[in-house]
Amino acid sequence: MKKEGKKKLFYGSAGNYSVTTISLTAHACTGQFVVDKFNMAKVSKKKVNKKNLKKSFELTDESATVNEHVVYDDDEEEQELNEADENITSEEEEYGCEDDRKRQKLLEAISALGGKRKKRLGERSEAAVQMSEFTVNAEGEGDKIDLSDLIGTMDKTPAISAKTKNRLRKLQKSKKTIECPLSKQETERIQRDVAFQKAATEVSRWDGIIKQNQRAEQLVFPVNQEPSGPKPMERVVTSWKAQTPLEQEIFALLSANKQPITDPILTPTETASLKAMSLEEAKIRRAELQKARALQSYYEAKARRERKIKSKKYHKVHNKDKRKVFLKQFDEMVKTDPAAALEELNKMELARMQERMSLKHQNSGKWAKSKAVMAKYDEGARKAMQQQLEVNKELTQKLITSLNNEEEEEGVDVEVMPDFVNDAEQGLDSSNPWMRGKLSEDHTEKEISDIVDLSAEGAGVAENTAEEEEDTEKVEETEEEALLREFDSRRKLRQAQEADVVPVIGVDGEEEEEEVVVENKSAAEELDASDKEAEELTEFTSLFRGIAEQAEAAADASPSDTKTQLDEGLMRIKTLEDVELLSQEESAPEIASVQPQPSPATENLPHATQQGGKNRKRKRGIELKEVLTKETKVIQVPLAPTVEDKEDSDENLDQRGLIKEAFAGDDVISDFLRDKRKQEDAGKPKVVDLTLPGWGEWGGMGLKVSRNKRRRFRIKTAPPPPRKDERLPSVIISERKNSSISLHQVNSLPFPFENHSQFESIICSPVGRTWNTERTVKRVTKPKVVTRLGAIIEPMAREELMRDKNHGSAGNAK
């Protein structure tokens, strides 16, 4: 142990030749020590280690040997160590020291021979309790070293300046003890902390860039590439200089005259001169502007004044005046400039349309509503409202001028209406009341003419079967339309109760059709009375529709039997009884071409419901029926087929086939319904019955399992989700899962996505060239990292960081 202590001391001294006992320098010493140690480690760490090991061995082995031996041993060691140290320290110093020490040792050895042991003890280091790691042992504890001891000689040396002397004296006077140095671990920790903080701040500067790169859509390496593309002339030519005297002269001239050297654009002076305006021009312009401004201000003032006038009468008069003037102008215009007048007319028409569209004067505004409240008591309010309505009427009324009249008359003269009128009516847009209301007049006329035509033709010879067919169809259609229109007119009549609102033609033109309506209504009421269920009513209506259609079809279907059947088709279906009659007539001889529907007398469909079946099912049957007998539009074909299809002709010959075809409908529907029900039932989960007869109660023939038990042991599973075809009566959609596609589907949500819709929406936009333009494809399929072939990608330099920062701040500033 002794030796080790010495060794330590020696290390310390080897590193630092100053005295180590002074605490002042201790701190610095450790620092240096560390450094030196490192140096040593660099050079001969191995060696030393070996030596140390050896030494320890020797220590253990020869602890009992003679002192002298030990001393010798020590000497040897020291020598060796010193040799090791030689590499670092200057040799001369080393030698000097060594000589001294050797001498000392020699002296010691000699004195030891004399048997004076005590002295030696005083010089050797002790194994002390408190041992500092600064290799300062507690050897000289007893005798304190004073500062004065050390600096006592200072006064005598003249080389030292007075200043230092003063300082030292002060130091001597101060009694404050210096704090004890921190332990090695603590200092190291502090150092580590400081170093870490430094490093962290250094590294955290890169955080922004790292984040930016992580989030970047695309990274391009190497980092600072020069932008491709054409470079400005100046940059390319920088290296080039005018060399020949001629060049130099030219450039001198150019620069002297402010002429562009690199870019052939205008010189600053030229641009300035171009911009300049002549004085006169500027003056004229200024005057113009002044005038305009003055006029504007006058106008403003006038407008303000006029606006401030609160008199309604004034405004009324004003407006009227204006209108009068306008009318006068218009009249003149009609004479002089019909084109402009027409334009004006168009404008008026537009205003009318706008008025019709906006409900401005229809007493629907705030003011009108407030008036409406008052109207009951206040005569004035009523009058005001009336006035507004008048205005509305006036505005919405079509202007009839001499220009227009002629055209209209011409239009009336032509018997056949333009095609589009017909089309629009056939569109039968029930949601658009305007269309209906407007067209009603025209149509009655047309219808009448049609009927006339028809009668004429009926009297004449049937020349062309196809043509006639067309006519009959037309009649049918017009009848329906007339009915609808009639309803409309009646409603209007009821609601408005004003003589002028009701279209005159609508009233007196079609008396017989009114009859039809009345009769129809009465029939419906009767039926209502007899069975009041709403369902049946709907059924009835649907059936009625179907029958009417069928009748129509029957009338139209067979072009071969001409006259008699056509006559039947021409018969008007006025009432329900008629319908019945017709259907019966046609069903009586079974050869009738198409007659799938039984008469409405047998109202309840035999197939759909089994009479007393559940309400739900019956309803569905009805719906299905309705679907199948959706209002059909009859198409007129100009050319009738002369050649029958082969299949058709075959079946025409076969009576049975025809009948089958005729009655196929019912069968088809019931079959389909059965099929659908079967599918539905198959999809329903089955009740698992776990009841065991005889368990917990008596068993045997004819004994029922108790209800309680059944309830306990019959396990019902949850009902399946609603079928996709629940609302579609005429459709069966298979509920089976498509397993082949699920193999290719994504079945777990990838990382950043939170729900399916996000993922799906991102996936669903197409990427390929088939669906996108080239640029889009390139943009969408941009690679994440782009590198240039052959370019060295160097790590980012700190300058880059600084530059980025500058850029960033600049960007922010922007």
Binding site: S297, A303, S364, A372, L389, V416, P418, G427, P433, A496, E552, D556, A557, P596, L628, E631, K633, V634, I635, Q636, V637, P638, P641, T642, V643, K646, E661, A664, V668, D671, F672, L728, S730, V731, I732, I733, S734, K737, S739, S740, I741, L743, H744, L749, P752, H756, S757, E760, S761, I762, C764, S765, P766, R769, T770, N772, T773, R775, T776, R779
Partner: protein, 555 residues
């Protein structure tokens, strides 16, 4: 009213006055500046055109989402918007317009004869109206190749001919010495399939028999799915079979159990096969399912013909009940129903949605049957014999009609798509280009497993499997990793974590959650209420507009 306007004007003027000094200064400064671009930024695109190329709804960026997700959504939105805009911008590169036929005043277009049209149009187009008198070998089936250059005729009595119909060049002509039920071009004009009396045969364009496929017997109708390289056949034995023509393998054979299958068409949008049956139903099939995907009851009599439009939106059927019905095939709902006096035996839809229907020997063409109810045909033409096959020629205003006395090529203005996609089906391609295209098409072949009713299904997350897997995971882990964590109140010291306090805190959190839920539901309800009110108001407005304005005085 006028006063108001004046007021506005004066106000404007006032503003002008205030701004005047500034403006003058600005003007002087502007004087020095260089001329500004009068039309800054990119050229505007019409809104309707942008709308035309809309692909998806905008996705909302969630507020508190992971930044990666947010970035992703934002980027995807940008990209799709750009794609949409670019597509709209490049729409002007499709310069061709569709043709049309317009009659004189009070002249129906359906009365204009083909001869008149052929005389009036240019010579090249006029030459597209022609008749082939082939009375010997009975009614003809017709098929045009995908590019529309080549025509394939198959006579009932065995006559098969393929023609480059524009140059009127006969490529091959054979008699198979058997009855022919149907003919179909395969992916290119080099091969075609003929459904003969017994088996299915494949010939090349020189008339050399390449294959006789004995697995496919008694085929009555065929359809070729060009992007899947599948030949779908419907047989008299009620089998629907799929043949992969790229590898020559039978992909699926489905017994439909519905009797003789002689009505067939394909939905070009999703490659689903539609079959019509004598019991008035139309069934939809994919090769992946042994039962019909959908079964619709369309007619009261048997179904005679079915066709589906190019976008896969509408299906048109005709039946024995002499009706012509239009269905929205996406929702399986009937849209329109027409009554044709003699019923239509054959139907065909053109690329631009013109419907041709054959009744006996008359071919009628209808325009826009699904939107506006039509009452008369757009065109009509009488051919010599009973019509047996109808097919619109792609990219041409031509309708090919195969009938008892041969073949008629009809001019139907506005039938064909005027702008073709050169990479998909180029009518003017050379042999080399065709070869290139073939290789590319084979590389891009869609596997038959991907045929489903909704083609976008592939892009959806498989919900069922997802749930199943999640359940398994929950079972394995013993807890639900996706579930919201239960609130466990923090333990507080100094006696502040009393039982009551803990409960109170728990309750607070629960209340917070509940409040959020309630807030959400209330918001939803408000929204719905608002919508309903709006609807009601609309209805009311409609009603009031019908009534007189003076009704309010009647009490």
């Amino acid at each position: 009213n006028k006063g108001d306007k004046d007021g506005e004007r004066s106000e404007e003027a006032l503003q002008h006055k205030e701004q005047k000094p500034q403006k003058t200064r600005k003007r002087t400064r502007e004087g020095d500046e260089i001329k500004l671009d009068p039309f800054p930024g990119p050229a505007p695109i019409p809104e309707d055109r942008v709308q035309k190329f809309k692909r998806k709804e905008k996705t909302k960026t969630p507020h508190h989402a992971h930044y990666k997700l947010r970035d992703m959504i934002v980027r995807s939105e940008e990209a799709s918007e750009m794609a949409q805009k670019q597509a709209a911008r490049f729409d002007i590169l499709l310069p061709e317009d569709a043709g049309f036929l317009e009659g004189d005043e009070d002249e129906d277009t359906c009365t204009i004869s083909q001869e008149d049209i052929a005389l009036d149009v240019d010579i090249t187009s006029g030459a597209k109206y022609f008749n082939l008198k082939l009375s010997q070998f009975g009614p003809y089936r017709v098929d045009y190749s995908k590019t529309g250059r080549h025509l394939l005729l198959g006579g009932r009595r065995g006559h098969v001919a393929c023609i480059d119909w524009q140059s009127k060049q006969l490529m091959c002509e054979i008699n198979v010495m058997e009855s022919v039920n149907d003919v179909k071009w395969l992916h290119s004009e080099a091969m075609y399939a003929v459904a003969q009396k017994k088996w299915l045969h494949i010939y090349d364009s020189n008339g050399i028999e390449l294959h006789c496929i004995r697995k496919f017997n008694d085929v009555l109708r065929m359809q070729f799915l060009p992007y899947h390289f599948l030949l779908a056949t419907a047989s008299a034995t009620s089998f629907l079979q799929y043949l992969d023509v790229s590898v020559g393998k039978e992909v699926a054979a489905i017994c439909t159990k519905t009797g003789r299958l002689d009505v067939m068409c394909q939905n070009p949008y999703n490659a689903i096969i539609h079959l019509g049956h004598p019991n008035g139903t139309v069934t939809l099939w994919s090769p992946n399912q042994k039962e019909a995907l959908v079964k619709m009851l369309c007619h009261q009599g048997g179904v005679r013909s079915v066709t589906v439009d190019k976008t896969g939106t509408y299906m048109v059927t005709s039946g024995m009940d002499k009706k012509l019905k239009v269905y929205d095939i996406r929702a399986f709902k009937p849209l329109k129903s027409y009554f044709l006096p003699a019923g239509a035996s054959c139907l065909s839809l053109s690329q631009r949605g013109l419907l041709s229907a054959a009744t006996g020997d008359v071919v009628q063409v209808y325009r826009d049957v699904w939107n506006t109810p039509v009452s008369k045909p757009y065109m009509a033409h009488r051919v010599r014999g009973t019509v047996w096959g109808l097919h619109f020629c792609p990219f041409e205003d031509v309708l090919g009609v195969g009938h008892g006395e041969g073949f008629t090529s009809m001019l139907v203005p506005g039938a064909g798509e005027p702008n073709f996609d050169g990479l998909d089906a180029n009518p003017y391609r050379s042999a080399k280009q065709r070869q290139e295209w073939e290789v590319k098409a084979l590389l891009e072949k869609i596997q038959p497993e991907l045929i489903s009713l909704d083609p976008s299904e592939l892009g959806q997350v498989d919900q069922a499997t997802f749930e199943q897997r999640h359940q398994d995971r929950v079972q394995a882990l013993g807890f639900d990793p996706l579930a919201r964590q239960k609130f466990v109140p923090k333990f507080k010291k100094k006696g502040r974590s009393s039982a009551g306090g803990v409960e109170r805190r728990k309750k607070q959190v629960a209340h917070e959650d509940q409040r959020e839920i309630i807030r959400k539901t209330v918001e939803d309800k408000m929204k719905m209420d608002k919508e309903r009110k709006e609807r009601e108001e609309k209805k009311k407005a409609m009603l009031t507009s019908q009534r007189s304005a003076l009704d309010r005085f009647k009490i």
